[in-house]
């Protein structure tokens, strides 16, 4: 009887230790995730918003069709509003074409709009209307509609969308993203260091404030 009781105690101690070990292992695994740095610096080919000599350079690798990117879109806007003179925001294309069927044409549309000087307008429009065009079978039709809304030269826009120039820009962004170990979207880099996306605005703002110190 006594022996049985002892066995029982040992069993539960072993289980408790086992569970504790799993918890510790999980914490270690999660905190050890390496953060990588940006492989390619900002160049004249990048789409940027904000002063060139800003203290904080915020680079986003993003996919116009990704819901999480849509979620961060207003946060970035808010950051730009809260730190107008201190953030240089850079947008790089990272379309996840395997899971988002219209991601690539959206990236092409933004780049083509950029050729006519309206990249950021298209960028905003694509995020704001993501639910409209995202899963549509007529993605191209929507892109042309948005280009029309932005008063772009449509013939030029269509031509640019399929140009090798635009394709190269997107490929270049994707490969610089891959080299920077971008694994999903959105991935942000603050002054060249990848950050852990915070789930709310105050966390994100704190990261920027820390970078400004």
């Amino acid at each position: 009887m006594k022996n049985k009781k002892l066995k029982e105690i040992i069993l539960w101690v072993v289980i408790a230790v086992g569970i504790a070990a799993v918890v510790v292992a999980m914490i270690v695994a999660v905190t050890k995730q390496p953060s990588s740095s940006l492989s390619q610096g900002i160049s004249s080919g990048d789409w940027t918003e904000g002063p060139k000599d800003a203290k904080v350079v915020l680079v986003e690798y993003s996919d116009f069709q990704c819901p999480a990117c849509y979620y961060y879109y207003p946060m970035v806007k808010q950051l730009q509003a809260d730190f107008p003179d201190q953030i240089l925001f850079v947008y790089r294309e990272f379309p996840l074409t395997q899971i988002h069927k219209n991601a690539l044409i959206a990236a092409q549309a933004a780049e083509a709009a950029g050729k006519q000087g309206r990249f950021w307008e298209m960028h905003d429009l694509l995020f704001e209307k993501q639910s409209e065009w995202g899963e549509s079978d007529n993605g191209i039709g929507y892109m042309i509609m948005y280009a029309t809304d932005l008063n772009l030269n449509i013939d030029q826009f269509k031509q640019d969308m399929n140009s090798s120039d635009v394709a190269n820009k997107i490929d270049n962004d994707i490969s610089s993203g891959n080299n920077s170990h971008v694994q999903g979207t959105p991935t942000f880099f603050v002054n060249g260091k990848q950050i852990q996306n915070s789930q709310n605005y105050s966390g994100f703002k704190q990261i920027i404030q820390n970078a400004l110190k």
Partner: protein
């Protein structure tokens, strides 16, 4: 007479064996659920984003107003749920007390109800899916089915 008794004993043994298989299934899936919710809980405490894959809605789901009850993230409750199933199952294996099956079954009903609710939330309300949450729905469904089978056999 002797023959009959022998048969019952054999049946009893068969039943015990099947109960052990069911218990092992419970252990496996509650452990998976435990790992899943532990990951989310640790990420929540460290305020770092989860590595989202397959579905892209983790930030939306985990950042939504539905992701907390009484100020605590749902992953904490899930963690306690899976831990309770795990511990109760070991307790059952060790003591073979039938009433523990009842407790596990009761808990699993709670689990499946929550799972259905979370599924509706993700697909119909938030309209974003998170693979960790779906995995948890899967685990609690299996736990419900297994404990239902165990409960009916009792």
């Amino acid at each position: 007479m002797v023959h009959d008794e022998f048969k019952t004993l054999e049946e009893e043994e068969g039943k015990a064996k099947k109960n052990t298989i069911l218990s092992v299934l419970l252990l496996i899936f509650s452990f998976f659920g435990f790992l899943d919710t532990l990951y989310l809980s640790v990420k929540e405490i460290l305020a770092s984003p989860v590595s989202c894959f397959i579905f892209q809605g983790c930030s939306q789901v985990l950042g939504s107003s539905y992701s907390k009850i009484f100020g605590l993230p749902l992953s904490f409750y899930g963690l306690i749920f899976y831990l309770a199933i795990f511990v109760l199952t070991i307790r059952y294996l060790e003591s073979k007390k039938e009433k523990i099956i009842k407790w596990i079954f009761g808990l699993s009903i709670l689990g499946i109800l929550c799972a259905v609710y979370f599924l509706i939330l993700q697909f119909a309300v938030i309209r974003a899916e998170c693979v960790y949450c779906l995995f948890s729905v899967f685990n609690s469904t299996i736990i419900f089915v297994v404990s239902f089978v165990g409960f009916k056999r009792k």
